[in-house]
Amino acid sequence: MTTPLFDIAVAGASVLAGILGALIGLGGGIIVTPVLVLGFGIDIRYAMGAALCSVIATSSGAAAAYLRDGISNMRIGLSLCVATTTGAVAGAFAASYLNQSTLSVIFGTALLATVALSLQKKPEGVVPPAESDPLAVKLRLPGEFPGPDGPVAYGVRNLIPGVCIMWIAGVLSGLLGIGSGAFKVLGMDQIMRLPFKVTTATSNFMIGVTAAASVGIYLKKGYIDPALTAPVALGVLAGSFLGAKLLPVAPVKILRAVFLTAVFFIALQMIAQGLGLKFP
C-alpha cells in the first residue's frame, strides 16, 4: 500500500480499535497492536511504539474526567507509580533485547491474560473493608470517594503484594507497549481491595504516567515512526472518545461477548505468528 491510502486505512482501523477498547473496557493500545501486526504486516516494534503513544493520548483524556469528579486517589496513584514506572523502564530495556517472534508470543499471552481478567465479574455494591494495612495508613493512602449519599470511606489492604503486581504491570507496559490497565486493576481491585470506581479512575491516571516512562526508551531505540504513530494515536484518541459517547446506548453485553471472543482468537494468532505457525 502507498501513503495516503495506507494512512487512511490505519487511521480507520485505529478509530475502530479505540471505540472497541472503550466499549469493552480494554485499552485501545492492546487492540491496535495486533491489528497493525496481523492486518497490516507492520513490524511489532513499530506497532508497539505507535500504540504506546495512543495509550498516553487516551489516558490523559479519561484520567482528566475522573480527576475532576474527585474519584481517583492521587496519593495511591503516585505511590504505585513509583513501582509501575521503574517496572516500565526495565520492561522497555528488556524489549530491545528480544526479537520480533518472542515479542509476538509474549504479547499474545498477555492478551489472553487480559481477556481472562476482563471476563471476571466486577463486584458491585460491595462495601469495601474499612480496615487498612498499617503501612498504608502511614502513607495516608485510605481515602473516600463521592457516593450517592455523601462520601464513602475505604481502606487499603495488602499494600506490598499490590506494589509487586504493579511492578509487573509496569514491566508488561514497557515490554509490550500497552497501558496494562487490566493488570493495574487486578492489583488495586483484587489485591488491595479498593472500590472498583476508585480503581478504574486511579488506574487511568497511572496508565499515562507508566507509558511515559517507557516511551523515552522507545524513542531512543527508534520504535516510534512518526508517519505511523500519527494516524494511530489520532485514530485511537478519536475512537475512544466516540466509544465513551456510545457506551450508554450500545448493547454492551453482546458487544463484549462478541469482541472478547474475537480478541481471544487474535491473541492465539499472535502466538502462532511468533512461533512461525500458519493459523487459518
Binding site: 501513503t3 493520548a57 490523559s60 503516585l78 507509580c81 513509583v82 516500565a88 523515552g216
Partner: protein, 120 residues
C-alpha cells in the same frame, strides 16, 4: 485540593488536544509532501538520529530544514503529547509542596525523576 485537581484535569485535556492538533497538522502536511510512497514499516530499521533525540528533534522542527523533513512536525506534536504525563506529575509535586506535604512531594519527585531519566 479540589481546585488543584480541576486545574490538573484542565492541563491534561488542553495539553492532549493541543498536541493532537499539531500531530494532525504534521500528518496532513506529510501526506501532501509524500503522495503515493510505499510504506516501509514492515521491516524494522529504527529511525534516523534526529527523530530519536528530543533536542535534535526540536531543533529540526524549528529550522527551515523542517520543510524538507516534514515528519519532524509530527514528532514535535508527539513530543508535546509525551510531555503531558511528566507535567501531570510535576504539577502534583508542586501542589504537595505548597501544602507542605513532605512525604508526597518526595514521592512525586521520585516518579518525575524516573520519567525524566528515561527520556535522556
Amino acid at each position: 485540593m479540589k481546585n488543584f485537581s480541576v486545574l490538573l484535569a484542565r492541563v491534561m485535556v488542553l495539553g492532549t488536544l493541543f498536541s493532537a492538533a499539531i500531530i494532525a497538522f504534521g500528518l496532513v502536511w506529510y501526506l501532501f509532501a509524500h503522495p503515493g510512497q510505499p510504506v516501509g514499516d514492515h521491516i524494522f530499521s529504527g529511525e534516523p538520529k534526529f527523530l530519536t533525540n528530543p533536542g535534535d528533534m526540536l531543533l529540526r522542527a524549528a529550522s527551515p530544514d523542517a520543510f524538507g523533513e516534514r515528519r519532524s512536525i509530527i514528532m514535535l506534536g508527539l513530543f508535546l503529547l509525551l510531555l503531558n504525563p511528566p507535567l501531570r506529575v510535576l504539577l502534583a509535586a508542586l501542589g504537595y509542596a505548597c501544602q507542605h506535604d513532605r512525604l508526597y512531594t518526595t514521592i512525586s519527585a521520585i516518579v518525575l525523576a524516573v520519567l525524566l531519566l528515561s527520556f535522556f
